[in-house]
């Protein structure tokens, strides 16, 4: 059954069963590999994308329900990786393995739209799993992007 929706600003039509999760449409049908599969039951949230601006767990969202919607993935968050979160993530070297980070950034971007200057409790509502546990740096990077970071002790001089 053909489903038409916008992905990162472009209209796309896919002919797949309506119950196919958005995650697998993005990854295997549209070849957008940035959105990650981690659990398939909405627990880890590595598959977080925006549907009409709302952070959405794409492994639990049937593609049939996004017909006509506007989907944004990590590939479409900014044209060139220049979103303040993407810059902050690089500035303080957030990732370890990096696998969850697209989902973390998408969750953080949705949070900043709702709460431009989030406090710690606001940030703690992001429930995406980071198996490497980069949580401290994710929190700091969100604050840098929001302009609320207090200068922290650097973990060593940089090359």
């Amino acid at each position: 059954m053909p489903v038409t929706f916008k992905v990162n600003g472009k209209s796309r039509t896919v002919d797949v069963p309506a119950d196919m999760p958005l995650l697998w449409v993005l990854r295997d049908e549209l070849d957008l590999k940035g959105t990650k599969f981690g659990c398939g039951i909405g627990q880890c949230r590595a598959c977080t994308v925006h549907v009409d601006g709302v952070a959405t767990i794409s492994c639990r969202r049937a593609v049939g329900t996004v017909a006509g919607a506007e989907v944004t993935t990590i590939e479409g968050l900014s044209p060139d990786g220049s979103h303040p979160l993407q810059k902050a993530w690089q500035e303080i070297d957030v990732p370890q393995c990096g696998y969850c980070q697209a989902g973390q950034i998408m969750a953080a971007a949705a949070l900043l739209k709702k709460v431009p200057k989030p406090c710690d409790d606001d940030i703690d509502t992001i429930a995406n799993i980071c198996r490497c546990a980069t949580y401290g740096r994710i929190k700091e990077a969100i604050k840098i992007a929001a302009g609320t970071a207090t200068p922290a002790a650097k973990s060593g001089e940089e090359v």
Binding site: G34, G38, C39, E75, C97, C100, I105, R131, A133, V159
Partner: protein, 744 residues
């Protein structure tokens, strides 16, 4: 076929046409002869095992070990670039394929990259620099000893001459590189890269969501596979409705894969492959898959049964003695105080966030594999399981979404290869579900530690006796004698603290046989469970002795009774150093001022050549909810913290990893299969649970060692010791979540 991920060959082809760059032979000494054939076989790529420099001043360095988040893709190139004396901003890093003739060991694990690469990787850089120095000396007619280098330039101060490295490429290409062991390396005080922070080389791609991981491998005509195995470990397929699977949407192939020619539980187990045009189709088809299984003997195994066996064995003397000093029984008999306890830790899964996967292509009798694996072991395994020659198998290392020891095993890799072998000419990507990842893991082995200690009237530990129950099988050795072969990852040994520091000491093992549970190496294997038992029990001893638990450890470490030293065991001076550092940084001596329900616990542990002491502060609510407020870590991994920004991240990650394990993780076995299946019943901590973690280094004169693991083992005991201090409740079995911690 070139996958969209692997632009490496294109890059090299282009650069060799455009650049005509100098190719440095940076062989490791012992492999110089063995490397030679590559010079003719792959002219594009060899003989520059590690370094390629182009006239624009860009230095491309091959990262030989697989990267899974531990940071080795920066680490080794940093060492090479330091001694080559080039600026980090001009370095580009490329991931090497599995090619042990060129690169020697290419295994990620055991926190081993730093200790094993510290010498050779710096030598690789220094040897390349030495050739350029020789070239400049010959060109300028001056002695080599008068030439210095700086930021990719050669300098002869006496004649005021300076040349960028590329100016010497032509001359250098005619010169013979020196033997690696003969090259002079920098004094540490001259380091410009080692000891400074470098950002992860893949981070720009990560934040843009560019294809990077094993699961992202994609190539034209690729199909997607699922592989259904018996839920009972080691079970086999009797029959399956594979014909019916072919009628499911998107499914192109469905077949039974026979088990490989041995019974290795992380080798090739039998199963049903479904190959489709999308992974979701392959997975969805399984709703209608019907398989008759031959469960095999492991169906009789269960956690309850193991606990009963452990209780029986605990009543008997150990089957195997690891060490005995003095007379522990007599000393226990005459002790002023006696402490006895049994500790238990469960099986654990790895739960790397990227589920196991591999892409394979079998074409013209050759197998090409793209895998997020931790090593090249999949080549020999695939050859043995599928009847191929190792020389016909290529493995490309693809960045892995976490490893934690899981990807030391290559079961997913050989499964992908077995499926690809049945559909020649078609690249196939096998991906496991999270449930399969959890239920077909190689688990951290469970263990029971029975410990007794005797304390004299002065509060000194005078006797210590331990009997560990683990898993193993009796096998015939070469001499025809039966002996116990323990399952992987047990990790007990004769030198574990407090061995050597107690005059009357014994430790022995007994084994539960024929369990049939696949076990393996989970971050800080052995240590991650043993430290919980040992360091919690020492806390009990300290409290029984009426001593400050941190000071109790310092006192013990000052008491080197046997006088025995061992470079691969705890060094008391180094451990005392980190204990004192963490005491100071955490404010340990002021802990009595903390409010009721809030308390500190301490633990220290030596593992993977690192000495770590950690203090954890917890608050336990009256309702029994545990929150970790803050963690202080003091570590000694030798003379250099090679990449500080990554070092701190590894420690902080290890701490939260240890907290997750201690707090809520357990794999239980029922009817020969794992009960837990996904993050809903095998929980990982999230942002709201993450404490502030201070990391402090004590630099010592020792050779630098690794950091993927040694910060983890002290975490579970420090946490449980803090919970005891807060509530008076001693946790002797993990996970913590199973205990009622209410207090009033």
């Amino acid at each position: 076929m070139t996958p969209t991920l692997a632009s490496r060959r294109d890059f090299i082809r282009v650069s060799s046409i455009v650049g005509g760059g100098l190719v440095f032979a940076a062989h490791l000494d012992t492999l110089e002869a063995a490397t030679a054939p590559f010079a003719t076989a792959i002219p594009d790529f060899a003989p520059n095992a590690f370094i390629r420099m182009t006239p624009d001043g860009i230095v491309t360095i091959m990262a030989k070990n697989p990267e899974l988040g531990q940071g080795v893709k920066n680490h080794y190139p940093m060492m090479i670039a330091e001694e080559l004396d080039v600026e980090w901003k001009n370095v580009r890093v490329e991931q090497a394929d599995f090619d042990p003739l060129k690169f020697q060991g290419q295994s990620t694990g055991g926190s081993n990259a730093t200790p094993s690469g510290w010498g050779p990787m710096r030598q690789v850089g220094a040897a390349a620099r030495a050739v350029l120095v020789s070239a400049a000396a010959a060109t300028w007619g001056v002695p080599e000893a008068e030439i210095t280098t700086e930021a990719g330039a050669l300098i002869h101060a006496g004649s005021n001459r300076r040349a960028a490295y590329p100016e010497m490429f032509e001359k250098a290409a005619t010169m013979t590189p020196p033997a690696l062991t003969a090259v002079k390396m920098k004094d540490a005080k001259d380091y410009k890269i080692i000891g400074k922070s470098t950002k992860g080389v893949d981070v720009p791609k990560i934040v843009r969501g560019e294809p990077l991981f094993g699961i992202d491998v994609s190539m034209p005509g690729m199909l997607y596979a699922t592989y259904t195995k018996c839920p009972v470990f080691g079970g086999k397929v009797t029959s399956a409705n594979t014909d019916a699977m072919l009628k499911e949407r998107g499914v192109k192939h469905a077949f039974v894969v026979e088990p490989g020619p041995n019974t290795q539980l992380d080798g090739l187990l039998g199963g049903v492959a479904i190959v489709a045009t999308s992974w979701w189709y392959a997975n969805n088809a399984r709703k209608n898959l019907k398989v008759a299984w031959d469960d095999g003997p492991t169906v009789a195994s269960s956690s309850a049964g193991f606990a009963a066996s452990a209780a029986e064995l605990s009543k008997q003397p150990p089957q195997r003695e690891l060490r005995k000093d003095g007379d522990p029984d007599a000393a226990l008999g005459s002790a002023a105080k006696k402490v006895e306890a049994q500790y238990f830790y469960p099986f654990l899964a790895h739960a790397a966030l990227e589920p196991m996967n591999t892409t394979a292509l079998f074409k013209d009798g050759k197998m090409e594999i793209w895998s997020p694996t931790q090593n090249g072991g999949g080549r020999a395994l695939t050859a043995a399981m599928l009847g191929l020659q190792q020389t016909d198998i290529t493995i490309h290392f693809i960045r892995g979404g976490g490893g934690f020891g899981r990807r030391i095993s290559n079961d997913y890799l050989v499964e992908a290869a077995a499926i690809a072998q049945k559909v020649p000419g078609v690249p196939v990507k096998l991906l496991w579900t999270r449930e399969e990842d959890t239920q077909h893991d190689v688990y951290r082995v469970a263990g029971w530690h029975n410990m007794s200690a005797g304390i004299d009237a002065d509060g000194k530990l005078t006797a210590y006796k331990e009997h560990v129950i683990s898993f193993g099988d009796k096998r015939m050795n070469a001499q025809g004698q039966e002996q116990w072969v323990e399952t992987r990852g047990v990790g007990m040994g004769p030198l574990l603290f407090p061995s050597r520091f107690v005059p009357n000491f014994s430790v022995g093992m007994s084994y539960i046989p024929n369990a049939g549970i696949p076990t393996g190496f989970l971050r800080a294997p052995g240590s991650n469970g043993i430290a919980f038992a040992h360091e919690s029990f020492l806390d009990e001893c300290a409290i029984a002795a009426g001593k400050d638990p941190l000071q109790f450890r310092l006192d013990m470490l000052s008491n080197t009774l046997t006088g025995e030293t061992n470079p691969n065991a705890l060094n008391p001076d180094r451990m005392k150093g980190v204990l004192e550092l963490v005491r100071e940084k955490s404010g340990w001596n002021d802990r009595a001022k903390l409010p009721k329900g809030t308390a500190m616990g301490v633990a220290c542990y030596y593992s993977h050549r690192g000495h770590f002491a950690e203090v954890i502060q917890v608050t336990v609510s009256k309702a029994g909810v545990v929150k970790v407020d803050k963690v202080w870590v003091a570590g000694d991994i030798g003379s250099e913290i090679i990449n500080p920004v990554n070092a701190e991240a590894q420690v902080q990650g290890s701490v939260i990893d240890g907290m997750s394990e201690a707090m809520g993780q357990e794999i239980t076995i029922d009817k020969g299969r794992a009960v837990q299946s996904n993050f809903n019943n095998f929980p990982l901590l999230r942002m709201k649970d993450a404490p502030v973690i201070e990391v402090h280094w004590r630099k010592t004169e020792f050779t630098p060692t690794g950091l993927g693991e040694p910060a983890l083992p002290p975490v579970p005991p420090a946490m449980c010791n803090a919970i005891f201090a807060a509530t008076g409740k001693r946790i002797r079995t993990l996970p913590i979540s199973k205990h009622d911690l209410k207090w009033s």
